[in-house]
């Protein structure tokens, strides 16, 4: 028997999935625009952020309503709390995409750097993590969520590598300092997006198991 309440939970799930799909698309477009210096796509990303923001508000509203009116318990309660957290992280990832797009608009108006940092790899890693964590959420897969947490190290390492490489590069090509700094900021945004995907993985595990693994907290 499907109760009215559980139909509303389904609706909440659909809304967060819609938000996830938009965020994923925004990040992909932002990375693509950065790599191929496409200002038009970058502007689309900036414009699209409004929709993600309003979905976050809609999810907040739905969750508040369900908590107040249905007094959910156990798994339902965890699902609602987890969804609220996930919505916050998705919104932040979408903001990172906007930030990257803004860097793109700046960089595309200037000559390309003569040095090619590992942006593609970092972009792929962050996008991969976001896609996997959304899939972990849909399939309620703890295993997949744990994989995402582990991928975060790769994102961190790539970011450090890009930072070091560009610092070295700046020393030898001083006119490129401003462009290098903008590129470092874009890399930092991708690294943050990867962190936020990791947060989502932690929320997914909380929903499935009811344990909080944040800050490596293993208390049950």
């Amino acid at each position: 028997m499907e109760s009215r309440f559980h139909k509303e939970l389904e609706e909440l799930k659909m809304t967060i999935l819609q938000m996830a799909a938009l965020t994923e698309r925004a990040l992909e477009k932002a990375v693509h625009s950065l790599l191929v210096r496409d200002t038009e796509v970058a502007k689309e990303v900036v414009r699209g952020d409004q929709e993600v923001n309003s979905l976050e508000l809609e999810i907040d509203r739905l969750c508040l309503k369900l908590l107040a009116l249905e007094q959910p318990m156990a798994r339902d309660l965890r699902f609602i709390i987890g969804t609220m957290r996930i919505a916050v992280d998705l919104e932040r990832i979408a903001d990172q995409a906007v930030n990257i797009a803004e860097r793109t608009i700046f960089l595309a108006s200037r000559p390309p750097l003569r040095f090619n940092p590992a942006m593609q790899q970092l972009g792929d890693t962050a996008i991969d993590m976001l896609k996997s964590v959304i899939s972990a959420f849909i399939n309620e897969s703890e295993e997949q969520a744990i994989d995402v947490c582990q991928m975060d190290d790769t994102a961190d390492e790539l970011n450090v590598k890009i930072l070091k490489d560009l610092m070295d590069y700046m020393l030898h090509d001083t006119p490129a300092i401003e462009r290098s700094v903008q590129t470092i900021i874009a890399a930092r945004c991708l690294e943050r997006a990867a962190d936020q995907a990791t947060n989502i993985a932690e929320s997914v595990i909380f929903i499935i198991k009811g344990v909080n693994i944040k800050h490596h907290c293993q208390r049950t």
Partner: protein
């Protein structure tokens, strides 16, 4: 929280109505200063179990209990146990307020008189203490000689709690004590339970999940005569171990 002190315990009890086995191997412990909520769908055996704890089921012909229930170190089903004394030590409050058609004073004094207390001063003092404990004193102190039937439902239920407390029980059993009351009266009863646990061991049967979550320290889930899961209330309502518990408390049952 204070250290847990075991007050009552059932050890693998079976309970029969004739040939129907209503409870199967139920083992549970109740601790001093703790509230235990018994939850589960209708017919799961939770009320039957509650009534086993002060032998209220003895009144049902052809009913029978196998196993042992202890109060402190005494097996309450041992032959020779004084059932009246047992029920003084293990008091009970029912779903519907059931005051006697007597004055407010006489309702609370009733158990004391049955137990042979005659001294007017002692009676007055104990009636006042009990009414205060039941958070009713301020509302009735000026009309103790009025009929109890003139009180509101919520007040009648607190009167029944005062009546149960007057004989100084050690354990208080409550069978859906707030299900016939409005939200404000319900809140008063729940506040009262919080107060009472400082002095008593409390076991409450409730159909209201939120109420179980609010008032109890430990929650026990019954299904088809079996104890499925017992754990700290917080755990039961945030991450129960068993699917049956999960399905019941999230309303996915059946």
């Amino acid at each position: 929280m204070m250290e847990k002190t075991l007050k009552m315990e059932s050890k693998k009890i079976d309970f029969y109505y004739g040939s129907f086995k209503a409870l199967q191997e139920v083992s549970l412990q109740f601790h001093l200063n703790r509230v235990t909520a018994l939850i589960g769908p209708s017919g799961c055996g939770k009320s039957t179990y509650l009534r086993c704890l002060n032998r209220m089921n003895d009144l049902i012909p052809s009913s029978r209990l196998v196993g042992e229930i202890t109060l402190d170190d005494m097996n309450i089903y041992e032959s020779g146990v004084d059932v009246v004394e047992l029920r003084r030590r293990v008091g009970m409050v029912f779903q519907k307020p059931n005051p006697f058609p007597k004055t407010i004073f006489e309702n609370v004094a009733f158990g004391l008189r049955v137990n042979g207390v005659k001294d007017r001063n002692v009676l007055s003092e104990k009636v006042e203490i009990s009414l205060r404990q039941a958070a009713l004193w301020d509302e009735v102190k000026d009309r103790l000689q009025a009929s109890a039937l003139g009180l509101s439902g919520g007040q009648q239920q607190r009167l029944c709690i005062a009546r149960a407390l007057a004989v100084e029980p050690e354990v208080v059993l409550m069978d859906e004590p707030a299900s016939a009351l409005d939200p404000i009266a319900t809140q008063k009863i729940e506040e009262l339970i919080h107060e009472l646990k400082k002095n008593y061991t409390i076991v409450i049967v409730t159909h209201n999940m939120q109420q179980a979550a609010r008032v109890s320290d430990t929650t026990a889930f019954f299904y088809m005569g079996k104890l499925i899961e017992v754990n700290a209330t917080e755990n039961i309502f945030t991450r129960p171990k068993y699917k049956q518990t999960e399905d019941y408390i999230t309303g996915r049952f059946g």
